[in-house]
């Protein structure tokens, strides 16, 4: 009985979800996105199939998670690669349709004669009255002129001005902002009248008319704008680009710019070299420090090992954004505690943030501090797994500590360690948080045209191009991201191979 009840409950729930899904599809279709609606219908169909078909049973459990991964991880990654082949940037932000719509929305004061506008107060609201030179008048219903927001208001013929006194000029000036948003329509006409002077309204006509070939004719001066799908701009006959531009595919344009143009090639090579060096040295340093500490902590002759372990692990447990910012303060050249100590001991005040070499040293120091606890824990686990009899044999044969280390411990843990070290390399290759919070990529190269810093790694450089100083060039930044994707993919394949080799060796 209970079982059939719960079955019924699930059935009702499923039917309800299906209906809600259908309604959503209907809403999207009504909003005018037919393609999107079709896609949504497809998703709904697949979902229904997964949750009703016996053959798709395993997918009932996988579907929600896989869908989330596809939508929020895989799709953005692929979309980024796609953007890398476009000119998407702050100057070419809109789609072609939206940019065209922007031009078609432009208005100019047409040929009709302007009308004089006056306001008549009516119980805290105003009647807007307009009349032409001949004295013919029209008026609106009382309007509240305080809220902003575009409104279209119909005018009614008025034989004479409304009763009462005209509002003084200062009231008209005080309500300019609201008046500017008004579009007044004369009875029997389609032209919008808009404010054209302090107290004048004039008929506004669309500035551009669209021609069959997609070009736009300026109705005021007769010039023609043609869309150029290579540059993503409407251009005038003289070749001048008219903003706003629109998004177009430019093929390998971004990659050509990155790898061949003088302005980008130089910084890019320097940044790439530093990225690899930074990631590699970080892995080496964290491994060496972590390994030494792990060997010490696995030594049974040592007491208080539990206390040491927890204290040594602390740097990893504190949230990164906090400890990195703590270091940013401690390394401050003028007030930082590190320079105070160094000044007291040796009389030096290194400029950690303005000297490129010192800034890089600081990054490596901080990153080693952040990263060694993780390698330490990994090494401790692996050293523990080494059979103790190997060391006994070594002791019998007179092997010392150094022999144990180089002949037994290191060779045995290097193999399982390798995939993890590669993963650590890949992580630090993209260690955006550290660079962004500690140096922000500074100090900048002095000889570079585009803003690029001596401590920038590829991702932080990407971030700067996309979201900071160089005018939000999303396309170019996405092109660099694409290059990073490719590099990391190579690393991943190597890593997977190594992992498989290890797995089959066991």
């Amino acid at each position: 009985m209970q079982r059939s009840n719960s079955r019924l409950g699930w059935l009702a729930f499923g039917a309800l979800a299906f209906l809600i899904g259908l309604y959503l599809v209907f809403l999207i279709q009504r909003a005018g996105h037919s393609l999107l609606a079709l896609g949504a219908l497809g998703v709904l169909g697949v979902t229904t199939w997964v949750f009703t078909s016996e053959r798709a049973y395993a997918w009932r459990y996988l579907y929600p998670g896989v869908a989330a991964v596809l939508v929020f991880v895989l799709f953005p990654a692929l979309y980024t690669v796609g953007i890398g082949f476009t000119n998407y940037s702050s100057t070419n932000l809109l789609s072609y349709e939206r940019a065209t719509a922007y031009f078609l929305d432009q208005k100019y004061a047409g040929s009709g004669e302007p009308l004089n506008l006056s306001l008549y107060p009516a119980d805290k609201r105003f009647i807007v009255h307009v009349e032409n030179e001949a004295g013919q008048g029209w008026q609106t219903a009382p309007l509240a002129l305080d809220d902003a927001g575009a409104r279209t208001v119909a005018l009614q013929p008025a034989a004479r001005p409304p009763a009462g006194d005209k509002a003084p000029m200062k009231d008209v000036i005080a309500h300019q902002a609201a008046l500017k948003t008004l579009a007044l329509i004369l009875p029997g006409s389609k032209d919008e009248y808009r404010l054209s002077g302090l107290s004048k309204v004039a008929a506004m006509a669309p500035l551009f008319a669209r021609n069959a070939d997609g070009s736009l004719t300026n109705r005021q001066d007769g010039s023609v704008l043609k869309p150029d799908f290579n540059t993503g701009f409407y251009t005038s006959a003289g070749g001048e680009r008219i903003a706003p531009g629109f998004k177009v595919g430019i093929g390998l344009g971004n990659f050509e710019r990155l790898f061949t143009s003088h302005e980008f090639q130089g910084p890019l090579i320097k940044i790439f070299v530093w990225t690899v060096l930074f990631a590699f040295l970080t892995v080496v340093f964290t491994f060496v420090v972590g390994f030494v500490l792990a060997s010490l902590l696995n030594w049974e002759g040592l007491r208080f090992r539990g206390v040491y372990r927890i204290l040594l692990f602390l740097p990893y447990a504190v949230p990164g954004f906090i400890s990195i910012l703590i270091f940013r303060g401690l390394f401050n050249e003028n007030f930082g505690e590190i320079n105070l100590v160094l000044n007291g001991l040796f009389g030096i005040k290194p400029s950690w943030f303005s000297d490129p070499l010192l800034a890089k040293t600081m990054l490596l120091l901080v990153n080693t501090w952040l990263g060694y606890p993780y390698t330490m824990l990994l090494c401790m686990g692996m050293i523990k797994a080494i059979p103790a009899d190997l060391y006994e044999v070594s002791a019998i044969n007179g092997g010392g500590m150094w022999t144990n280390l180089t002949r037994i411990t290191l060779p045995l843990i290097m193999k399982p360690m390798m995939p993890l070290l590669i993963a650590s390399f890949a992580f630090n290759f993209n260690n955006f948080v550290l660079i962004s919070l500690l140096t922000g990529g500074l100090p900048d190269f002095t000889d570079s045209m585009v803003p690029a810093g001596a401590t920038d790694i590829l991702v932080s450089y990407t971030y700067r191009i996309a979201f900071q100083d160089s005018g939000q060039n999303f396309g170019l930044a996405a092109a660099i991201s694409t290059v990073i994707f490719a590099l990391v993919a190579v690393l991943s394949v190597v890593n997977l191979k190594l992992t498989r080799v290890n797995a089959s060796a066991r």
Partner: protein, 296 residues
């Protein structure tokens, strides 16, 4: 293991202790310093590790109270730290709950059900952790910008967008939970199936109650992951009131407006609870990670 311990051995022990203590002094210096700085008056005060003069002004600001300084002027908190903490906790709790729900069912399928593409799926999940979200920032920004023009509460500068962006971070958690499911004998569920339970009932009423510890751990890990996430949050959130801790904390240390002491108090206030939660959860994370790395 009985061994004869000679003098060199004792010397080695002492040397090891000395080395470890020296290393610890270096590594823990920042933490001790930050506690000291949070208790010093003023934002530029230098001094020894133990402050000569203790002042709680920075702590008052961090807690959003404000105080009257020596010249009788009211000092208001520079940033809404508690508000940021609340934003962080809210976003992290909701996204962690979503992540837990999605990754548990996926892990069940990978651990117990047989279907085409199972091994491939696991490998893809394993590889995905090599590609951080920071590489897709531009698309994430563009997508949520587009969504925002139709659904404002999922657009740029909304918490909904951040929660959705975090909801896809399942890969590692699926591996962790699957690793735990693999250690639970499948015979118990089979017994339930023999007694007439459906697949779902075996999952819901037999397996899940046994897996509660790992579910708690994964929830905590996803929670911490969302709290400390910086790149995506920094792109999606803009208004000061909307920021999470990870994005907001940076504002304390701008060159033009350098609030070192205020930062110290806020850092301890927000960092301490997260650290404690992390220490509780981390043991399982490491074992999950390495297990995930070497098993097929």
């Amino acid at each position: 293991m009985a061994m004869v311990l000679d003098k060199t051995h004792r010397f080695k022990v002492i040397a090891a202790h000395a080395g470890l203590i020296f290393f610890l002094a270096l590594t823990l210096f920042p933490f001790l310093m930050i506690v000291s700085i949070s208790l010093r008056p003023g934002n530029f005060a230098a001094g020894s590790l133990i402050p000569e003069q203790i002042s709680f002004e920075h702590w008052k600001l961090a807690l959003g109270i404000g105080y009257t300084d020596a010249s009788g002027q009211w000092v208001a908190p520079p940033f809404p730290v508690l508000r940021w903490l609340w934003n962080s906790i809210k976003i992290a709790t909701i996204s962690a709950a979503v992540i837990l729900l999605l990754s548990t069912t996926c892990a069940y399928a990978f651990a117990r059900l047989r279907f085409a593409g199972r091994r491939l799926g696991l490998n893809i999940l394993f590889l995905m952790q090599m590609f951080p979200a920071v590489l897709s920032l531009i698309a994430i920004y563009a997508v949520f910008d587009a969504i925002g023009s139709y659904v404002p509460w999922l657009g740029i500068d909304s918490h909904g967008s951040l929660i959705l962006a975090y909801a896809g971070g399942l890969a590692l958690h699926i591996w962790t939970i699957k690793g735990y499911f693999d250690t639970i004998p499948v015979e118990i569920e089979e017994a339930a199936r023999v007694d007439g339970a459906t697949h779902f009932q075996a999952f819901r009423y037999v397996l899940l109650p046994m897996a509660v510890p790992i579910l708690v751990v994964v929830f905590l890990l996803a929670f911490i992951g969302a709290i400390i996430e910086y790149p995506v949050a920094s792109v999606l959130l803009h208004q000061e009131q909307n920021l999470t801790l990870a994005v907001g904390s940076k504002l304390f240390l701008y060159t033009q407006n350098y609030l070192w002491g205020d930062f110290a108090a806020a850092a301890i206030l927000s960092g301490l609870p997260i650290t404690v939660v992390f220490l509780l959860a981390q043991r399982y994370m490491i074992s999950g990670l390495t297990a995930g790395g070497v098993k097929g």
